[in-house]
């Protein structure tokens, strides 16, 4: 246990910590740093192999350290067949890729240290993701792979293409990763654990929380679809090919994009019973598969052909889990391994070809077999594997694929038929573009471009693709190790025991279909050769990336528009915003909460209740009139006086209610305020008032103001009516009026409240007022405007002007 933990740390954490060191070492070592980085995948692969031997497969083991125990988030790893299979693929391919990259990234490239740092970081993150036992840990590593992929795609960041590709990849995988996080949290809320081993052991309470868990499943699968480039998000993968070829071979065909496949396999036992699992996976994945194959047939760029065919194969791998029977799937490792063999190999071949010939358009290539016979041999095997020619793992994969798909037709009805159609059509296209890939690069006449640019690659660079192609060929002929592998790494819940693989199953339906597909595919290839592939071009309608880019562009335009539309730099704009919000929310609530009771009481309500008092109505009318005056008048002083007329008239109202002392107070306050503001206004330059008169707000704005003011009026009226309708049972005033003689020996309750009951408050208020007045006085006396300043012309619209870019220039 203890030593297993150490081995695991060496495999996962060592490269994680080592990555920054690689970057540092790169400054001194330059290109040679690659060989230093090469140690990491070697060490990881070695330790993982020994781990696999030690835990005694097909058993499993959980290795755990505490991280955030309060949330049940542990630094916890699950070692079982599935995770070890993926981890070995990652580190094993890693060894080949690091080796290959050392020759590929020659002195034409810069920043080798940074490149290997990202690549090592990526490998560590990948290992972490596939080995994680805690779903949160899985998510953390998952996002880290996305980040590393972003950095690697954008490695040649001076090229526009790289930047766009990196951005698309990050946006899509990052965003879907976040959705996956929501799914993870939802699973946690139902089960109370992030622990995969526990979840797999006890299963999910699917019956009780059907809706909740279905939502969680969809979110998790969206994460998988984003990472594995499933329809309609498939477009980021081909654009990610802007990265240097080792990156494409490693991240975007062999490992990272398989994370979606991995996730589907991991959660397969949890969700396969869910009714939505099969249709969702099947429809999305098989559509992706067909679309990818068609696009690969139509593409002309070497790497694009491979990228689209990767998309296609990923679709198949994910759909495979969708159609899988509930008690387990059989051959998923075979399909994955097969894809790793041929696609990794073909990418490396493509990289060597591009490197040697300097072009990557397949139409400009040809006749390379004479210059690079070994490479041609390797490519032939890999292409044959992709096409599914007997004697390779591709053939085994295709035979079992067809067999299973025919079985699924019985089990899944229409879904199965759809899947079968997609698989058959895809296989056909695959045969055609496999042959094309080999024939148009290596056969035929040597093209002009090749003659001009060719420089021979170093021979050692051939080793990695040779190993992969050799694997495809050997395992294709000799199925024993494959069988043993699948049995040894089988995981309970995910797999069921499969019949032995064999090259020859006798004359079965699959064989005939396979033969027919092969022939038809050859036919398409021959047709293509005859017409010189003139029709091969990706129609604009299928360019999803362009839609995406247009979407991004429109989005940015929209945000610009929104910013301009909502900008409110002037303080005068603040109040309407706040009032509008208050009106909407309060009004909306009142309507929502009170409407029933209002409707109920509407019948009982009569005009008599409002029977107007003649004198009071008259005063109210006068107040209204003076308010209208404020609106109509233009000069500040007249507006102000009109406003205070409204205040004075209010005192009449108090008089009518027989509260002369209140009226007196009101008059006093009104006078003081009026004088104070008049004094202040007198100090403003004339120009600012003129400015306000000249730059009147637009008609729409004034209308808005009217609406808002009326709204506030209505709201306040409603409140006052409401408040008066339910008088408080225990008014505080009663206390004072009852005790004013007894305690304060005065009859005027207002006076006694001010000077007796709340004497200290009054003292405090007076003090504050005095201090404020002194401060105000100080400010007023400090600065006097010069006559010149008064005579300046209008200053422009009211408000202040911070300079910032989003402001439109005033005409």
């Amino acid at each position: 246990m203890e030593s297993n933990g150490i081995l695991l740390l060496v495999a996962v954490v060592l490269p994680l910590l080592g990555a920054p060191l690689v970057a540092l070492a790169g400054r001194g070592l330059g290109r040679r740093v690659g060989w230093l980085a090469f140690a990491f995948p070697l060490i990881s692969a070695g330790t993982l192999l020994s781990l696999a031997a030690r835990i005694g497969l097909p058993g499993s083991e959980v290795i755990e350290w505490p991280w955030i125990p309060t949330f049940g988030i542990q630094f916890s790893f699950l070692l079982d067949g599935l995770s070890l299979f993926f981890a070995l693929v990652v580190s094993g391919v890693g060894v080949l890729i690091f080796f290959y990259a050392n020759f590929y990234l020659d002195d034409h490239y810069e920043h080798h240290g940074r490149f290997y740092c990202y690549l090592t970081l990526f490998m560590a993150a990948m290992l972490g993701t596939v080995l994680a036992n805690n779903l949160m840990l899985l998510f953390v590593f998952w996002e880290l792979t996305g980040l590393a992929s972003f950095l690697l795609i954008g490695f040649l960041h001076h090229e526009e293409k790289s930047r766009i590709g990196a951005r698309q990849a990050l946006l899509i995988t990052g965003f879907t990763g976040l959705l996956m996080l929501a799914g993870v949290i939802m699973v946690w809320l139902v089960t109370g654990t992030y622990d995969l081993a526990v979840l797999l052991g006890s299963g999910l309470p699917l019956a009780e929380h059907r809706g909740w868990l279905t939502a969680a499943m969809v979110l998790l699968l969206l994460g998988a679809f984003g990472k594995s480039a499933q329809f309609p998000l498939q477009f980021w993968l081909p654009n990610a090919m802007a990265a240097p070829t080792p990156v494409s071979a490693y991240l975007h065909s062999a490992t990272m994009v398989k994370l979606g496949v991995f996730l589907c396999a991991r959660i397969f036992p949890l969700f396969v019973e869910n009714g939505l699992w099969a249709p969702l996976l099947t429809l999305v994945a098989f559509t992706t598969m067909l679309l990818g194959a068609v696009l690969a047939l139509l593409a002309n760029d070497l790497k694009a052909i491979l990228a689209f065919s990767t998309v296609s194969q990923l679709g198949y791998l994910i759909g495979y889990y969708g159609l899988g029977p509930a008690h387990g799937v059989e051959y998923d490792y075979l399909h994955i391994l097969n894809h790793v063999f041929y696609k990794g190999c073909l990418f490396m071949v493509a990289g060597i070809v591009i490197h040697a010939a300097g072009v990557q358009d397949i139409r400009q290539l040809g006749g390379l077999r004479r210059r690079m016979p070994w490479l041609a041999g390797v490519c032939l095997i890999a292409a044959a594997t992709m096409a599914g020619v007997p004697g390779t793992t591709g053939f085994l994969s295709k035979e079992t694929m067809l067999k299973e798909i025919f079985e699924a037709m019985n089990g899944h009805g229409a879904l199965g038929i759809y899947a079968t159609t997609c698989v058959v059509l895809t296989s056909l296209a695959k045969v055609a573009f496999s042959f094309r890939f080999f024939a148009n690069v290596f056969l035929g006449e040597e093209s002009e471009a090749v003659k001009k640019n060719f420089h021979a690659p170093p021979p050692a660079i051939l080793a990695p693709p040779l190993i992969l192609a050799g694997g495809a060929l050997l395992l294709g002929l000799w199925t024993g190790p494959l069988d043993a592998l699948m049995r040894g790494l089988a995981v309970e819940g995910l797999h069921q025991s499969a019949p032995h693989l064999a090259l020859w199953h006798g004359p079965t339906t699959e064989l005939f279909v396979s033969l027919a597909v092969m022939l038809l595919g050859l036919g398409v290839f021959v047709l293509g050769q005859r017409t010189a592939w003139r029709w091969a071009a990706i129609p604009r309608r299928l360019r999803f990336d362009e839609y995406f880019e247009t979407g991004i562009e429109h989005f940015s335009k929209f945000t610009k528009w929104l910013t301009r539309f909502l900008r409110a730099d002037k303080p005068v704009d603040y109040l309407p915003v706040i009032i509008a919000f208050t009106l909407c929310v309060v009004g909306g609530f009142m309507g929502y909460a009170l409407w029933p009771s209002v409707r109920e009481s509407a019948g009982a309500w009569t005009w008599d209740a409002l029977a107007p008092h003649p004198v009071r109505s008259f005063v109210a009318a006068l107040i209204a009139l003076s308010v209208v005056g404020v609106l109509i008048l233009r000069r500040w002083t007249t507006q102000l006086i009109s406003l205070s007329v409204a205040g004075f008239l209010t005192t009449f109202y108090y008089v009518l209610y027989r509260a002369p002392d209140l009226a007196l107070t009101q008059i006093l306050i009104e006078v003081v305020t009026l004088f104070l503001i008049l004094i202040l206004l007198g100090r403003f330059p004339r120009s600012s008032e003129l400015g306000e008169i000249i730059h009147r707000p637009s008609l729409a704005r004034r209308r808005l103001n009217v609406v808002l003011s009326l709204g506030v009026g209505i709201l306040m009226t409603t409140f006052i009516l409401w408040f008066n309708a339910v008088p408080h049972p225990d008014r505080i005033g009663r206390f004072f009026t009852e005790r004013t003689v007894e305690l304060a020996e005065g009859r005027n309750a207002v006076n006694t409240i001010l000077v007796d009951f709340r004497g200290f408050d009054t003292l405090g208020e007076i003090t504050v007022l005095v201090i404020a007045m002194l401060g105000g006085l100080g400010l007023l006396m400090r600065y006097k405007r010069t006559p010149e300043e008064y005579q300046e012309g209008p200053m422009g619209p009211p408000g202040l002007g911070i300079k910032h870019s989003e402001r439109r220039e005033e005409p």
């Binding site: 953390v140 990052g174 965003f175 929501a182 409401w722």
Partner: protein
């Protein structure tokens, strides 16, 4: 009501220490260091201020207290202590990043105001009484208005402060209106008593108004849409350290008290598992109450903050809009109104505050050289000041919520708390999905900053940026803090959960 003043003084000792430090800094600056060079004055008085903060922190660590003085006027419990320590930490960093600034010669006054604002925030955190809340809110706000105006040589600073002040005054008026309505309805100023009085009243229309007004007042303090209008201008115009303090300390305190007011004051009776006054913002199960109001504000903040941040060309404005967006995420935590949610909210606010101070610190460094905070001024920074650039990268990635940095864990914690409130119904899932979608959008503008720093070419003639050692150390410390809190969130979360349990929320 028997009050032992000595006891009260002991409870309020940290606040007292900070006030005394403020006065000390003021006096020392006015008397003995007046004739020194500005830099030395800043260092001497800054050290005094830092010492005060540290002393207060140490006091709280050494003398744990748990008391409720004057019926909720001043509440001290482990939770308030944690928040206060965090606030003092943020104050400390604010003081430290302002040490190299040259915008003022009134150094004593400047530091004293920072400390007084911090005192206001500390009282705010301890208040469970609406009078006390309002007074502390005003103490904080008034200090911050002046801090925003502190660069007297710069018109923009004055304008920023004026806008902040006008809007703040307006918001304070609204808040006061709401609070007085609340008092009128319940006859009490203590939050607990208010809740008890409102228990059987249900959703009175006046209560709705009071609620909306209070949300509005706090919405202004935390810069949530549509009360955010001041924020971009204030952040941009104010001296950078002041802006950092407005964006960090003030936010932590405001969010804490916002959540407290809503959770203690506005709970009310329960029917069918839904608080009558809180209501519910769950999908297709809207029940009127304050949570839908907050939900509206949160949605608007997340949308507008993130979308508008994309087009900004000034980094301070960009941070301002992203602050608005972050306020939206945090409001989701307020809506969840559970003990767990408060812990998540405090964690989020504190880590966010820390990160923002760091980001502003970097802006200050760049601003000192290039005289503006435009994105273009950051071009090629990684080659001119590698350490500072690395710190900025950590801050930006944390703000964007990239694991395993503090920002990621904050988001995760808040969203988990929100989902938990609604579980096992889909509840607040719609809000969480929106928040997640919007944080994906936010990648875009944070990366924009990093792109300038790391990818864009250096402007011709740019030379190495000489960053003072102290500045580098402070920024480095903040960056380490952000990483540490992200990798080992248990450091803070464990304390928070324990103290929330102790405080009984």
């Amino acid at each position: 009501m028997n009050v032992s003043y000595l006891e009260l003084l002991k409870l309020a000792a940290p606040e007292t220490i900070v006030v005394l430090t403020a006065l000390a800094a003021l006096v020392v600056d006015l008397t003995s260091t007046r004739d020194l060079e500005a830099r030395f004055r800043f260092i001497i008085n800054g050290m005094i201020a830092c010492a005060g903060c540290v002393a207060a922190i140490v006091w709280m660590l050494v003398m744990p207290a748990h008391a409720n003085a004057l019926e909720g006027m001043f509440v001290v419990d482990p939770l308030t202590q944690v928040v206060k320590i965090a606030l003092l930490g943020l104050t400390l960093f604010t003081v430290l990043i302002s040490m190299d600034s040259t915008f003022t010669e009134h150094i004593g006054e400047y530091l004293a105001l920072i400390l007084l604002a911090a005192v206001g925030m500390m009282f705010l955190v301890s208040a469970e009484d609406i009078l006390m809340i309002f007074i502390s809110l005003e103490l904080t706000s008034l200090s911050l208005y002046i801090l925003a105006a502190f660069n007297k040589r710069d018109v923009n600073s004055a304008e920023a402060a004026l806008k902040y002040f006008l809007f703040g005054g307006m918001a304070a008026a609204f808040t006061l209106f709401g609070l007085s309505l609340l008092y009128g309805l319940s006859g009490a100023t203590n939050l607990g008593q208010i809740a008890a009085a409102l228990e059987d009243k249900g959703l009175d229309p006046l209560l709705i108004v009071a609620m909306v007004m209070i949300v509005l007042g706090f919405g202004f303090k935390v810069a949530a849409v549509p009360f955010h209008l001041w924020a971009p201008d204030a952040y941009q115009g104010a001296p950078t350290p002041s802006a950092a303090f407005i964006a960090s300390g003030s936010k932590v305190a405001s969010f804490f008290i916002f959540a407290k007011v809503m959770m203690i004051g506005f709970t009310g009776g329960e029917t069918n598992g839904v608080h009558e006054i809180a209501g519910s913002a769950a999908w297709q199960q809207f029940v009127s109450g304050w949570t839908p109001v907050v939900a509206v504000v949160a949605v608007l903040s997340m949308l507008l903050g993130n979308l508008v941040a994309i087009v900004q060309s000034s980094v301070k404005r960009l941070i301002a809009y992203s602050a608005i967006a972050h306020a939206g995420y945090m409001l989701i935590g307020v809506m969840a109104h559970s003990g767990e949610a408060v812990a998540s909210l405090v964690y989020y606010a504190v880590t966010y505050g820390l990160t923002t101070i760091g980001a502003f610190g970097v802006v200050a460094v760049v601003e000192a050289r290039s005289k503006d905070d435009q994105l273009a001024s950051f071009a090629g920074l990684s080659r001119r000041a590698p350490v500072v650039s690395l710190c900025m990268m950590i801050f930006m990635l944390s703000l964007a919520g990239i694991p395993p940095l503090a920002g990621f864990f904050g988001k995760f914690y808040v969203f988990a708390a929100a989902l938990k409130t609604g579980a096992p119904n889909l509840g607040l899932l719609w809000l969480v999905i929106l928040a997640i979608a919007m944080s994906a959008v936010s990648f875009y503008y944070y990366l924009q900053v990093l792109k300038q720093i790391y990818v864009a070419d250096m402007p011709a003639g740019a030379e190495e940026l000489r960053v003072p050692v102290l500045g580098q150390v402070v920024l480095g410390l903040i960056a380490v803090g952000v990483i540490l809190l992200g990798c080992a969130p248990n450091l803070l979360v464990g304390v928070l959960q324990a103290s929330i349990k102790a405080a009984g929320l």
